[in-house]
Subunit: 178 residues, 3 copies
């Protein structure tokens, strides 16, 4: 690893940070610049799969577009490897919180990302992004427990067992059985 | 971005980390070195505004000085831009937790910081710091729900709707109407 | 601080990130490479103390080995100082979540790490790791409150007051009185 490598790694980190900021601030137009046109996404251990930047953005707008849907996605622990001058791979740890008071809904979870990055026209972009959950739990904000465990790395292979909302399901290419 | 830029960026990150550590460890004397003398702060989308390092520190001591007030402020996703040899700007994502068992009080929130930094006498310092909340919620530790949503990026412009404690209010220069 | 220093600091950060990932993914074999053979650990302000890599790993396997024990340990705010070509020191902020549905148990906490690192055979390893809690609280997942505060930086010196499970206690060299 050289100082010049560090510059590339910092640029990849910033790409990821911009992606996360656009997600939680619902900046879908700025989000476009984070993703390669042929990007693929596989969230929640393949429960939600999308091929192409347009499909990923349609998922964001449908699944997280409402301003009642308040989220905090935070990534940590970047382990970024440069594979060549314009390709890289990285793992990250995720913690996320979702609050949707309009549905009396709260969620918190933890996961690990595995991403591929590509440099095109001088800018790094996400080519593939995927995460598998360590755990996920949901609860009704108005009620006492029990909190419901809806994913675990070992128990569900890291995939959420929450039902997919219908307006999202029609966008997702779910794996059979998930 | 050059390797030399990365050194400056790392120094600015460390400044922010020291600021956060001093906050949660209540190290007010060490905190002095993090802030420019003419620093300004605008927390919770302007609900809490302070002009000058002394005013900011008075707020910390009054609002967070009690050892019953246990907090965890964590910043993530630094996007730091060097504007010149001794000025810089940055955004960060924040997650914070407050527990005050003596008041049966808990809070958690998420926000985005926008900061300005200045290098003086060879050391970076915070010249302006501000954050706007994505959400904030509070609850009584002894009771079941409902948790109360007290801020949202879209619903309240990112400002907390919690009443300002009287001993803090006399220090803050609140915006009209907040 | 030079660009060459930044490379060493990045390698130390990656070491810590690998350690945290191995912890939450229960990758005990890969964890071996993170620790010096003579590493010492002092968790929860000395409540859990272990001398030697083998003792630390035995603690991980006994205390966190079950796949019902789901954890998210996230570190933030690295302040890493190089002390020489092959020694370094660092502080980090920690946030951790534990969910064990089989025991109706949940925990969340915050702490600060102080670590020593050593470079041997060309690779950085953890020589000493320790943390002191800002707070820790536990609750029954099935029940309403009250949540129970089990550690505080000021109230308990940062040490957890949770009973040490018997199968772990026999591995730990606890400080008298803790």
């Amino acid at each position: 690893m050289t100082p010049a490598d560090l510059v590339e790694i910092e640029l990849i980190k910033r790409l990821k940070y911009r992606y996360m900021r656009c997600l939680d601030q619902k900046l879908w137009d700025e989000m476009v610049s984070c993703l390669a046109e042929d990007a693929v996404a596989s969230y929640s251990a393949g429960k939600y799969e999308f091929a192409g930047r347009d499909a990923i953005l349609a998922f964001f707008r449908a699944g997280m577009g409402s301003t009642d849907f308040l989220s905090s996605h935070r990534v940590h622990h970047p382990e970024i490897d440069l594979l060549g001058p314009d390709t890289a791979r990285g793992t990250w740890a995720l913690e996320d919180v979702v609050i949707d008071a309009s549905r009396d809904f709260a969620l918190r979870g933890a996961a690990f990302y595995e991403d591929d990055y590509v440099k095109r026209d001088g800018a790094w972009r996400i080519l593939r992004t995927s995460y598998r959950r360590t755990f996920e739990e949901v609860w009704q904000r108005s009620g006492p427990g029990p909190q419901q465990l809806t994913a675990s790395w070992w128990g569900t292979g890291g995939a959420s067992q929450l039902p997919i909302p219908e307006h999202v399901a029609k966008l997702a290419r779910s794996r059979p059985g998930s």
